[in-house]
C-alpha cells in the first residue's frame, strides 16, 4: 500500500507539473479577464502542493500499514481473504481491453459475448454449459435491447449482429 501511495502522489505531482507546463502555450490574461491558461495554471500549482503533502506523508508513513477505508465504499471490501479468482480485477480489465480491440472487427454484441464467456470461464470454469448459454444470451440481449429496442447504433460485425 505504501508503495502505491507514493506512486499515486508522484503521478499527481507529474500531472500538476504537466498542467502548468502545457498552460504556458495559452494566454494567461485575455481582454481584461483571465485567459484560458489562468485556471489550469493555478489548478496545477494547487495540485502540486497537495501532491507534495501526500508524497511526504506516504514517505514518512511506517512501511506496514493497514489498508485505509474507502471514502464512499464500505471498508470491508478490501479485507484480506481469498478473492473470487486469483487476480480477478486484472483479468477482468484485460478482457475488457480485449473486447474493446475486438469491437471494430466482430461488432459490439459479439465482442460483449466473448468478454462474457472469457470472464465466466475465469470465475467459474466448471460450469461450461451455463457459461456458453449466458454468453450467447448476452449477444442476443445486447442486439435486441440496444440496437433494436433503444436504437443505439452499435458497431455490428460482418455477420450483421
Amino acid at each position: 500500500v505504501r508503495k502505491s501511495e507514493i506512486a499515486a502522489a508522484a503521478l499527481l505531482l507529474l500531472l500538476g507539473a504537466a498542467t502548468i507546463f502545457q498552460s504556458r502555450t495559452l494566454s494567461y490574461w485575455h481582454e481584461q479577464a483571465p485567459g484560458p491558461a489562468f485556471v489550469p495554471f493555478w489548478l496545477g500549482v494547487l495540485l502540486i502542493a497537495t501532491a507534495a503533502i501526500l508524497l511526504i506523508a506516504a514517505i514518512r508513513a511506517p512501511a506496514a500499514r493497514s489498508a485505509p477505508s474507502a471514502p464512499f465504499a464500505p471498508s470491508a471490501r478490501f479485507a484480506p481473504g481469498a478473492p473470487m479468482a486469483p487476480r480477478a480485477p486484472a483479468w477482468i480489465s484485460a478482457f475488457s481491453v480485449l473486447a474493446l480491440v475486438l469491437i471494430p472487427i466482430v461488432g459490439m454484441p459479439l465482442a460483449c459475448g466473448l468478454f462474457m464467456a472469457a470472464t465466466l470461464f475465469l470465475l467459474e470454469p466448471r460450469r461450461r454449459w451455463r457459461n456458453i448459454i449466458t454468453a450467447v444470451a448476452t449477444v442476443v440481449i445486447v442486439s435486441l435491447l440496444f440496437v433494436h429496442g433503444l436504437g443505439v447504433p452499435l458497431p455490428l460485425g460482418p455477420l450483421g449482429f
Binding site: A33, P34, V39, L43, F72, P83, A99, M108, F146, L150
Partner: protein
C-alpha cells in the same frame, strides 16, 4: 398555497401518465434490486442506467432515475441487515444494529421497520423539498457570476470537507476533476486547450463514461477483489408477515424515525453532505438520547429506524441544492447534474421557471414512488432475497457489458469506451488508496460552470478579485467556503493542544 396546489396538479398530470407510472415502478424496482446487490449502490445504478434513458424525454428519464436513487436506499438495507455488507454507503450504519438483529432472528423486524421508516421519511422529505425548493430557487434568481462561482466553490469545498475519507486526498481528487474539466475548446476564447491535436478531445472529457467508469466498472473490480464468502449470503427465508413490525417495535421506533427524518432532510440539503453523513448523525443522536445506549451495536431497533429514515429523507433533501442551485447534494446527485446537462437542461433556479412540468413531475413521482416502494419491499421481499443470491460470476461481467455499451452510447464512439476502461482502472486504485471518485466526478461536472463564472465575474469587474467578497451573497458564500476549508485545520490544532494537556 394556491400556487403550490396548481404546481402539484401540473406534477400529477405529468407523473400519473401510464408511461411515467410504469417508469417510476420500474425505477423503484430496479433501484431496490440494485441496492440489494452487495457492492453496487445507487450511484453505480444511476450511472449504469443513464444510457437506457436516451430514448426518453427528460421528465420520464428523471422519474426513472429518481426511482432508482431512492429505491436503492431501500434495497441497500437488505444486504446490511442480512450479510453485514452495506449495499450502499448510506446503509453502513444499519449494519451495526441491523445485522445484530438478524443474528438474533429478528431480520424481518429490522427490514420491516427500515421500510416503514424509509417510507415516512421519504414522503416527509419530498414534502420538505416541495416547500423549500421554490423559495430557494426564487432567491437564487438574483445570482450573478460571482455568486455562482462562490456557490460552486462551496459545493466542492463541502464535498471535500464533509467526505468520510482523507480530506487531502479528496482535495487532490477534486483538483484532478477540475483539471480534466479544462480539456477541450475554451468557451470564452474558442481556443482548444490540452487537446494535443486529438479531435475526440475537443469536446472534453464526457462525464458519462467517466461516471460509468468510477461508479460502475471500478466497483466491479472492487467486488471481484473481495473475498467471495463476504458476498455470499446465508440462506434466509423471510415471508411478508416477517416484515411487519410488532406494536413494541413500532413504539420504540416512532421517535427515532421522526428525528432521523428531520436530521436527514437538513443534512441532505447541504451541498456535498449527502445521505451517508446524515445516517451517522442520526445514529449518534439516537445513541445520545437513548436511556439504554449500551444496547446500541447489539441489536437496538432504534439504531436501524433512525438512520434508515435519515438516508431516505436525505435523498429527498439532496434534490434541493440540485434543483435550485445546480449543485450536487451527494455522489448520486453529482451524476444527475451531468445527466441534466446531457438532456439539455441546466439545473438551477431557472429550472422552476422554464421547466415546471419537469420539476413538479419529478416531485410528484417521488410521492408515488415511495408508496410503490413500501408495497414492493414488503410484498417482494422474498424476491429481493433471491436477487442477493444471484451468482457473482454472472452478475459482474453482465455489469461490465452494460458499462461498455453505456459508455459507447454516450456519443456513439469507441473513444469513450477506452476512456471508461482507463478511468475504471484508475477508479479502482482511487478507492483502494482512499481517494474520492465522487469529488472527481463532481469537479468534472461543476468545473466548467465554476471556471466560466469566475472569468465572467472578473471580466465584469475589470479584473477585481474583491468582486467575490464585496457583493453580500457572494461574500457570505465565500465566508462559508473559508469556514469549511479551515474547520478541519482548526479542529486538528484544538485536538493536538488538548492531547498535549
Amino acid at each position: 398555497v394556491s400556487d403550490l396546489w396548481s404546481h402539484l396538479q401540473t406534477g400529477f398530470a405529468v407523473a400519473a401518465t401510464p408511461v411515467n407510472l410504469l417508469l417510476a415502478l420500474g425505477g423503484a424496482f430496479a433501484g431496490t434490486f440494485i441496492g440489494a446487490l452487495p457492492g453496487i449502490g445507487s450511484t453505480s445504478g444511476v450511472a449504469l442506467l443513464l444510457p437506457l434513458t436516451f430514448g426518453l424525454d427528460p421528465t420520464s428519464a428523471i422519474i426513472l432515475l429518481a426511482g432508482v436513487y431512492y429505491g436503492s436506499m431501500y434495497g441497500g438495507t437488505i444486504t446490511s441487515v442480512l450479510i453485514n455488507t452495506p449495499g450502499e454507503s448510506a446503509t453502513i450504519v444499519t449494519t451495526l444494529d441491523g445485522y445484530q438483529m438478524a443474528q438474533q432472528g429478528r431480520a424481518g423486524a429490522a427490514l420491516g421497520i427500515a421500510t416503514i421508516g424509509s417510507f415516512i421519511a421519504g414522503t416527509a422529505g419530498t414534502l420538505g423539498l416541495m416547500v423549500l425548493a421554490p423559495t430557494l430557487a426564487r432567491a437564487a434568481m438574483r445570482f450573478g457570476p460571482p455568486e455562482y462561482f462562490a456557490l460552486t466553490l462551496l459545493g466542492l469545498a463541502m464535498l471535500v470537507g464533509l467526505g468520510t475519507g482523507s480530506r487531502v486526498k479528496a482535495l487532490a481528487s477534486a483538483l484532478v476533476g477540475l483539471i480534466l474539466a479544462t480539456v477541450g475548446v475554451d468557451v470564452m476564447t474558442g481556443r482548444p486547450r490540452f487537446t494535443f491535436g486529438y479531435i475526440d478531445l475537443l469536446s472534453g472529457f464526457d462525464f458519462l463514461p467517466v461516471s460509468i467508469a468510477l461508479f460502475g466498472f471500478s466497483e466491479i473490480l472492487v467486488v471481484a477483489a473481495t473475498p467471495a464468502d463476504r458476498l455470499t449470503p446465508q440462506p434466509v427465508s423471510l415471508g411478508i408477515r416477517d416484515a411487519l413490525p410488532t406494536r413494541a417495535d413500532w413504539h420504540a421506533s416512532r421517535a427515532p424515525i421522526a428525528r432521523g427524518t428531520v436530521i436527514g432532510f437538513l443534512i441532505g440539503t447541504l451541498p456535498g453532505a449527502g445521505a451517508t453523513i446524515a445516517t451517522f448523525a442520526s445514529y449518534f443522536v439516537e445513541k445520545k438520547v437513548s436511556r439504554h445506549p449500551e444496547r446500541f451495536g447489539h441489536g437496538a431497533i432504534e439504531g436501524v429506524a433512525g438512520p434508515e429514515a435519515a438516508n431516505n429523507a436525505a435523498s429527498a433533501g439532496s434534490l434541493v441544492p440540485l434543483l435550485t442551485l445546480g449543485l450536487p447534494g451527494g455522489t448520486t446527485t453529482a451524476v444527475l447534474v451531468g445527466a441534466f446537462t446531457m438532456w439539455g437542461l441546466r439545473p438551477g433556479p431557472m429550472l422552476f421557471e422554464q421547466n415546471p412540468s419537469f420539476v413538479w413531475g419529478l416531485i410528484v413521482s417521488m410521492y408515488i414512488g415511495n408508496v410503490m416502494l413500501v408495497v414492493l419491499n414488503i410484498v417482494l421481499l422474498p424476491l429481493f432475497l433471491r436477487a442477493m443470491r444471484m451468482p457473482q460470476a454472472i452478475l459482474l461481467p453482465s455489469i461490465v457489458v452494460l458499462c461498455i455499451v453505456g459508455a459507447f452510447a454516450a456519443n456513439n464512439r469507441l473513444w469513450d469506451v477506452g476512456l471508461m476502461l482507463v478511468c475504471g482502472v484508475a477508479g479502482y486504485w482511487m478507492k483502494k488508496l482512499d481517494y474520492s471518485p465522487a469529488a472527481l466526478v463532481a469537479a468534472l461536472v461543476l468545473g466548467p460552470l465554476a471556471e466560466n463564472s469566475f472569468r465572467q465575474a472578473l471580466q465584469i469587474s475589470d479584473g477585481r478579485l474583491a468582486v467575490f467578497v464585496d457583493r453580500p451573497i457572494a461574500g457570505v458564500l465565500m465566508a462559508c467556503v473559508a469556514l469549511v476549508a479551515l474547520a478541519p485545520i482548526a479542529r486538528s490544532i484544538i485536538t493536538r493542544r488538548s492531547d498535549r494537556r
